[in-house]
Chain length 270, copies 3
Amino acid sequence: MPPSFGTMLARLREKRPLIHHITNDVVTHITANATLAAGASPIMAKALEEVEEVARQVDGLVLNIGTLTPAQVEAMKAAGKAAKERGIPIVLDPVGYGFTALRTQATHELLSEVKPTVIRGNQGEIGLLAGGKAAVKGVEGRGDDPQEMDRLTIELAKREQAVVAMTGPEDRISDGERLLVLKRGHPAMATITGSGCMATAVVASWVAAFPEDPLWATAGALAAFSLAGEKAAAHSRGLGSFTAELLDALAALTPEELDSLEAEIHERSL
Amino acid sequence: MPPSFGTMLARLREKRPLIHHITNDVVTHITANATLAAGASPIMAKALEEVEEVARQVDGLVLNIGTLTPAQVEAMKAAGKAAKERGIPIVLDPVGYGFTALRTQATHELLSEVKPTVIRGNQGEIGLLAGGKAAVKGVEGRGDDPQEMDRLTIELAKREQAVVAMTGPEDRISDGERLLVLKRGHPAMATITGSGCMATAVVASWVAAFPEDPLWATAGALAAFSLAGEKAAAHSRGLGSFTAELLDALAALTPEELDSLEAEIHERSL
Amino acid sequence: MPPSFGTMLARLREKRPLIHHITNDVVTHITANATLAAGASPIMAKALEEVEEVARQVDGLVLNIGTLTPAQVEAMKAAGKAAKERGIPIVLDPVGYGFTALRTQATHELLSEVKPTVIRGNQGEIGLLAGGKAAVKGVEGRGDDPQEMDRLTIELAKREQAVVAMTGPEDRISDGERLLVLKRGHPAMATITGSGCMATAVVASWVAAFPEDPLWATAGALAAFSLAGEKAAAHSRGLGSFTAELLDALAALTPEELDSLEAEIHERSL
């Protein structure tokens, strides 16, 4: 039995894990801030010459392929292996998987060489990666059939021996055996750039604090992020202010309100 | 007779074109958000290994040279040619043209090899590019003589067979024959980083939705952006909050209020 | 006797110096905006092919190693030497000094080859660089012993013949002989990404406007930034909105209120 989400949040803020991000150009600033708002501390480092050294000194590693280059793939592999050797959790965000050969191939290389602890993507990315036929439009893929989405999430988790989080109107989280589902959040989250990447940063913060239970840590992270999204939407005036409100709300979450969400998570079986 | 700006805005939001940005480090996040606020969808991709593949799957391409490197010039050429082959509109933003040899030469290479559909810059950039003697201070060049600015805009459009938008206190838009002028917007827009780059992203969104009429699409885009700037300035407290307000206002524009601006656009002849 | 801080602020805004930033991926946008809010004008340029040409046309240069690569080190050296030849002030921000060999070595190379005018860092970075044993956690190092911090600041300034600013709950500024101390600012400033980098941008803006007195220009810059932080914290709702509020407050400072802070700066001797 894992601790409650509220207890986990309090411990995360106390531990303040250090998260190394190798990420895309668009979200460096907001994911650094999302890491802080989640209760962790970010370090961005990308050069092959220093990523292993960084990855050895941190508590978690984010690999986000949103503006990938071949040099970045090498840095991700080097950092990933260094993190793996020390048992540091790794979260992969396969942004735009399926959109280009570079992204598709890099994702497969990272899966086989780095073996991430958690894979977080949207319905299109996770669906395609699991072998589904979901269409991916740009970096905002959408799937339709809930049962198919359940199945693809579980299968990918089983195949990659990782926790898989498929986020969207419903968040699905699986370790290949269990499937946790949470239907919270707000449509405004889909209107801004980088909300998926922010979710990944929050997941990495939680998993770095609770490496012994990546399934529930991921669920807690997504519950926290969804709740922050709802609260931000309640007093936001549009997509410009929403990003700031989302960070404000995330940092201001209390353990108590997060506990109340935990009861809404239900486990589905196939 | 093109459709009204309001009608165009409604159609743009319905079509939701996908825009590929190869852009500068400073504005990746806000121009992705500006693309969303305009009604389109952004994808950022920069590696030579994937830009052609991306450019073939999108509806519009932005080339912004604000933090240029030689490798980026190559990626811009490759993406530009791939877009051109498929008839996808390309918008060039020659940030800091004239400030360094790298930027000046790259701009000329992109003009001759990629032949952009639209060139959007400030008075200094467009003036210099057209052969004028406008001084460029940093990336915020200013021109003085309105008739000279008219002439330079038209001449550059004629020479490059492109739509040229020279933005500033007055926005001038020409296809080499007609010159459209709109005097809206707000001085606050000149106080923030990247408002020109945001304007370019909005122009690309409109032109991608209406490739058959890049002159009026550019005019509509700049009318929308100017109106959003005015509305944002009305309740902003400074340059930090203004950027967010600008995105909020852009996303919230209604077709009706945009239509009312169309009557203010006047055509000037030399 | 230098002019008052208020007088300096008014002159800075009038001069509007142009600042070249070679900086990290996380803060490009906010430090460009911080430069504008401070009263200066930013230009970001990073390619070896253009940095010397840029550095020769500006009034100040920022070198920030927060997401360093070997290619960036070369660009920093080239720009630094070009700036030095023309007597343009250079501000070095050794982000994460001591965290990796790449950062440590690059900092020492930049110190010996470029000889920055000002070095601004947090307690961990400046402490370590001065030879102290302050621990650096990520990029948010903290020191404990006030007298030791005083001594390290002065010693580094003496050793590098530069103005050194160690910022934190107390800001210490030394030219190797005098030590100025200011205890203002707000804890919220430590909760956001890039507040140190923003401080560096503000310092560069002031020092570019007053190259004849980098010690007092740095003190004035940090007084302005601290006061803006306090004002922003008074009506911010969290770390997302705080960054925008900080920029708003910085741009809105009046010479009068800044003058009132000058009296609080005290000089300490060892």
